[in-house]
């Protein structure tokens, strides 16, 4: 078995580093910010953990950013900063939702710049619509539960697998790093929920996951049906509401598992579709 702590192991930078960095950053933000602001801002630690891993893998961002791969770190940093500002200012919920959706739309259209320049309209509009649907569902989640982070976690794991099947190893690695960073944040929140997943979570982490999925839809051979199925993940709460695990200690323990299973079903289905509809492969060769 390969050693996860070996820097030559790809999993070191796409799993161990973001998980540990997010775990440390979330705890530090909570410590420095206090029980109210600090707890609200702690989710930014997931975004920071992701960025630490990203910069260690890819180095300094390319400036000026021209390609979607160049733009991704700027979008991730922008999301963290906007999320931080929204969480610090705490405007009305409608403003938060509007800002989150506007950020998602602007980010996707920026990624789609080369398509738009060449007159491509249908794909950028479709991808933007998909991103807005996912973003809208995330903004509708209760920030006092693990529902939204679990949705993003399972969706990014699915994206990672689909990207790998579509022979885009760097996007697979980036998605894995985002999932691991979310894992670092979630370790603080299970079994006892501590840090809300508010605007900072949706914009600083959720939007980045949406941007990665959008990049895949726009510029890779990722199976479009698989990506469409993955859009069902943020609707998983509609299923687990019907099979609610109850309240109290047992409920707190079991609820994330139920949510996770509800999110995993479409994620697994999406990966299966990508696998069986691919011409064979994966990034390894």
């Amino acid at each position: 078995m390969s050693n996860l702590l070996d820097p030559n192991n790809p999993l070191f930078f796409s799993a161990v580093v973001p998980l540990c960095a997010a775990l440390a950053a979330a705890g530090l933000i909570r410590l420095l910010g206090g029980t109210d602001r600090g707890a609200g801002l702690a989710v930014v630690g997931a975004g920071i953990g992701f960025l630490v891993a990203y910069f260690l893998v890819f180095g300094a961002p390319t400036y000026p950013p021209r390609a979607s791969t160049h733009k991704m770190p700027y979008l991730a940093v922008g999301g963290v900063l906007i999320g931080f500002a929204l969480e610090a200012l705490r405007p009305a919920p409608a403003v938060v939702r509007g800002a989150a959706l506007a950020w998602i739309a602007v980010g996707i259209l920026w990624l789609a710049e080369s398509q738009l320049r060449r007159g491509g309209i249908v794909l950028p509009v479709t991808v933007t619509a998909g991103g807005l649907i996912a973003g809208w569902r995330l903004t509708r989640q209760d920030g006092q539960t693990l529902a939204a982070p679990l949705m993003i976690l399972l969706a990014t794991i699915g994206l990672s697998a689909i990207a790998f099947i579509a022979t885009s190893a760097s996007i697979a690695q980036t998605c894995a790093a985002l999932a691991a960073a979310l894992g670092g944040y979630m370790l603080w929140n299970w079994p006892k929920f501590r840090f809300p997943f508010g605007a900072a979570g949706v914009v600083g982490v959720g939007a980045t996951a949406i941007f990665l999925g959008s990049q895949m839809a726009l510029y890779t051979r990722a199976n479009e049906w698989a990506l469409a199925i993955l859009l069902l993940v943020p609707f998983a709460d509609l299923a687990f509401r019907r099979i609610g695990p109850g309240q109290g200690t047992v409920g707190n323990l079991v609820a994330p598992l139920v949510i996770g299973i509800a999110c995993a079903i479409p994620a697994i289905a999406a990966v299966a579709v990508a696998h069986f509809m691919s011409s064979g492969g994966g990034s390894g060769y």
Binding site: F58, G59, T62, P65, R66, A67, S68, T69, H70, S114, Q115, A166, T167, S168, A169, S170, I171, Q215, L218, Y219, T220, R221, G281, S283, Y285
Partner: protein, 196 residues
């Protein structure tokens, strides 16, 4: 079209052969069937992988009397990358490397030409990959210019060059697996052009 033999001989002495008086600054269209754009990139230190771009177009202007008049413009279809391995080619087309869906073309446009020897020169130009433009310098050797010997070519004047360059892919933001997969790519270009 006929070209004076003495002029062709003189042209073979390369950039600056003063006897070449026939037609200065002739423009040549790149002959795809006799042009190769090859790259070598190190693979984990074990070997240098060889790849090639199969589709491209372009032209060059060749003035043996005054090399400063010489120009080159090329457009390369990134989707035509070929390393003789389908999965690797798919990976090279992905956003990890050439990102061919987002950037279907890469381009080279010369900005300066200088003579370095009897048949050698140096071309500096703007290379655009992934939307990023950086200056690149190629060492060029002039091989031959003469009417094509095969009758079916109707005596078209053909000019041939060999060019070599080194390109650091990370300068263009192509950073995936930097270090493990060589940052610096060796470019080998063998080109023939038909006079327009």
């Amino acid at each position: 079209m006929k070209t004076k033999p003495i002029a062709l001989v003189a042209a073979a002495t390369l950039f600056g052969a003063s006897a070449w008086q026939a037609e200065a600054a002739d423009t040549f269209e790149i002959d795809q069937s006799h042009t190769n754009i090859v790259f070598l990139v190190n693979h984990l230190g074990y070997s240098n992988m060889v790849g090639e771009f199969q589709e491209f177009s372009g032209s060059f202007t060749f003035d043996p009397d005054d090399v400063t008049n010489n120009k080159v413009e090329m457009v390369i279809k990134t989707d035509s990358v070929d390393t003789d391995h389908q999965k690797r080619d798919d990976h090279l087309r992905s956003p990890d490397f050439f990102n061919t869906a987002e950037f279907p073309e890469m381009t080279f446009k010369s900005t300066a030409v200088e003579k370095t020897g009897k048949t050698t020169g140096r071309i500096t130009g703007d290379l655009t990959i992934l939307g990023v433009t950086k200056p690149v310098t190629m060492d060029v050797t002039f091989n031959k210019m003469a009417p094509h010997p095969i009758p079916s070519y109707n005596g078209v004047v053909v000019a041939g060059f060999s060019a070599r360059a080194k390109v650091d892919r990370t300068e263009f933001g192509m950073k995936y697996a930097a270090g493990a997969i060589g940052n610096e790519m060796d470019l080998i270009i063998e080109v023939e052009g038909h006079k327009k």
